[in-house]
């Protein structure tokens, strides 16, 4: 029947030539997409260790509102956490976003910061850098999807800090979890 259809030059239905054109176009698109992926996606360089370390350092050493800052001396005291700022979730998250700005749509990095008062054994509400993406990516990370172009790599580090409260400096820990999608 196909043979008959192909031989029927006067057929009013879609012709063999047009069908071939469509197949050729599909083939070319496949090749183009393949080339695009070779060039832009298949980059087997793992820079996550250094990227995550740099991001940690930006959180720890930037004047982002987390740390005690002496305006008169223009001096930051990394390690002494401003509890008043930390408690103002909206303000501190906005400040973190401004100090590590990847554009309006940040699809590059996210972090969670959990503070604990060692004396009171009390954990405070976490604050986030790029909260929306963090909550999306953390599921992938927990599920172990860390390899390939859709994977998200993560790292958690604990830091001992001094929490500056009204009554003075109290010891605490700050757990920072960094998530970065593979590129």
């Amino acid at each position: 029947m196909i043979k008959k259809f192909l031989k029927n030059k006067k057929a009013d239905f879609i012709s063999f030539n047009v069908l071939m054109h469509i197949l050729e176009i599909m083939f070319i698109i496949t090749v183009a997409v393949f080339v695009f992926f070779i060039v832009h996606v298949d980059k087997k360089i793992n820079t996550f260790p250094i990227e995550s370390e740099i991001l940690l350092n930006r959180i720890l050493y930037n004047n982002n509102g987390l740390w005690l800052y002496d305006e008169e001396l223009d001096r930051l005291y990394p390690g002494i956490l401003e509890f008043e700022n930390f408690n103002n979730k909206e303000k501190i998250e906005q400040s973190l976003s401004r100090s590590i700005y990847y554009g309006n749509q940040n699809t590059r990095a996210a972090a969670e910061l959990i503070l604990e008062d060692i004396n009171e054994v009390k954990e405070f509400d976490p604050i986030y850098y790029n909260e929306e993406k963090y909550k999306e990516w953390v599921e992938w990370y927990k599920a172990g999807v860390t390899e390939g172009s859709g994977g998200r790599k993560g790292k958690t580090r604990k830091f001992y800090v001094l929490i500056k409260k009204e009554e003075g400096l109290v010891p605490g820990t700050l757990d920072i979890t960094i998530l970065i999608p593979n590129r």
Partner: protein, 345 residues
């Protein structure tokens, strides 16, 4: 009889086939261009370079934001001159400079800090690029912007037209290191010669003719008598070759600001000189409580006058040998003097 099918006649079908051929040609050209660019990148060994440079430069930007103070970093890599590098929308874009049409551009992301003004210039034909961060500007270019390295000094009036009549005490202090003694002593002596007031005194230096070093008691008396004390020393720490000016945080607010202003103006003068700019890796005013620092520093700063300690470079740095040159020593002394002059004028 009515025709059936998608295309009603041969003419319409012919037209559609022509469109298909055009679309195919466009796609084929795009695919060939992409493949040839890829092959070109691999053949000219730029594929990996673009991948490496785009990431490395993005990491450099990310790394330079957090450190405090003014930062100057020169990035130099062999083979960088083959590429054109641009910075747009938090992305480093890198592509072949010479044959743009063949090269595929590579991008990598960096994060800016919106508390800084981000100024960038496209980098072309150069193996070097300069990163500079001052109090509120982050700049990337391939030319050193000297003004950007200058510190922002406290805004306080310190004018005094009679300043040349003031009594300056110059104190080139050194340990028993011969190299340090030569450098610090020469700067102190050169600076002393620039002040016109005959009452200005230099202490802690072996006078070339008389071989006299003032006693502690004489030094204390001189410090009491002086209006301004400028102590010159050399730092001793593992890395870099910085200029630090120590000032006291004790006293009323205006006095503290004035000391900081003098230190700040001296550092800026040192950095404004092109040759000195290349010798020192950074500079800052360090405002300290004299009771909480090492004893010999505290003794100079613990008073209610304008007293500063200038730490010129670092004895452990390789660059310290540049300070043994008499031309450099004169330039340093001139810069300190110009800083003082600006403070009062």
């Amino acid at each position: 009889m009515k025709k059936r099918g998608i295309f009603l006649n041969k003419k319409a079908q012919g037209d559609i086939e022509s469109y298909f051929i055009i679309i195919k040609l466009i796609l084929a050209i795009a695919a060939i261009a992409a493949m040839s660019a890829y092959v070109y990148s691999v053949a000219s060994d730029t594929f990996f370079h673009k991948l490496y440079f785009s990431r490395d430069i993005a990491f450099m930007v990310n790394t330079l934001y957090p450190p405090p103070g003014n930062i100057y970093q020169q990035y130099e890599r062999k083979g960088l001159d083959k590429f054109e590098i641009d910075f747009n929308e938090q992305k480093v874009q890198i592509k072949e400079e010479d044959i743009k049409k063949k090269g595929l551009s590579f991008n990598y992301f960096y994060a800016t800090d919106l508390n800084y003004i981000f100024e960038k210039y496209a980098i072309k034909n150069s193996n070097k690029m300069d990163f500079q961060k001052s109090s509120d500007i982050f700049e990337i270019s391939n030319e050193l912007n000297k003004k950007l390295r200058l510190l922002k000094c406290p805004d306080i009036n310190s004018n005094d037209l009679e300043w040349k009549q003031k009594f300056f005490l110059i104190d080139p202090d050194y340990s028993y290191n011969e190299k340090e003694k030569l450098i610090v002593g020469s700067i102190g002596f050169s600076l002393y010669n620039k002040f016109e007031n005959k009452g200005t005194t230099i202490i802690n230096i072996e006078n070339i003719n008389e071989q006299i070093r003032k006693s502690n008691r004489e030094i204390e008396e001189l410090m009491e008598k002086s209006d301004v004390t400028i102590s010159i020393r050399i730092g001793d720490y593992p890395n870099n070759n910085n200029v630090k000016v120590y000032t006291s945080s004790i006293g009323d607010e205006n006095l503290v600001k004035k000391r900081k202003k003098l230190g700040c103006l001296i550092i800026n003068e040192l950095f404004y000189d092109k040759d000195l700019n290349n010798i020192f890796t950074g500079g800052n005013v360090v405002n300290v409580n004299p009771k909480h620092i090492k004893k010999d520093y505290g003794e100079v700063l613990n008073n209610d006058k304008i007293s500063i300690i200038i730490e010129i470079g670092n004895i452990q740095s390789d660059k310290i040998k540049n300070l043994e040159n008499i031309g450099t020593i004169t330039k340093i002394a001139n810069s300190i003097y110009n800083g003082v002059k600006k403070y009062y004028d």
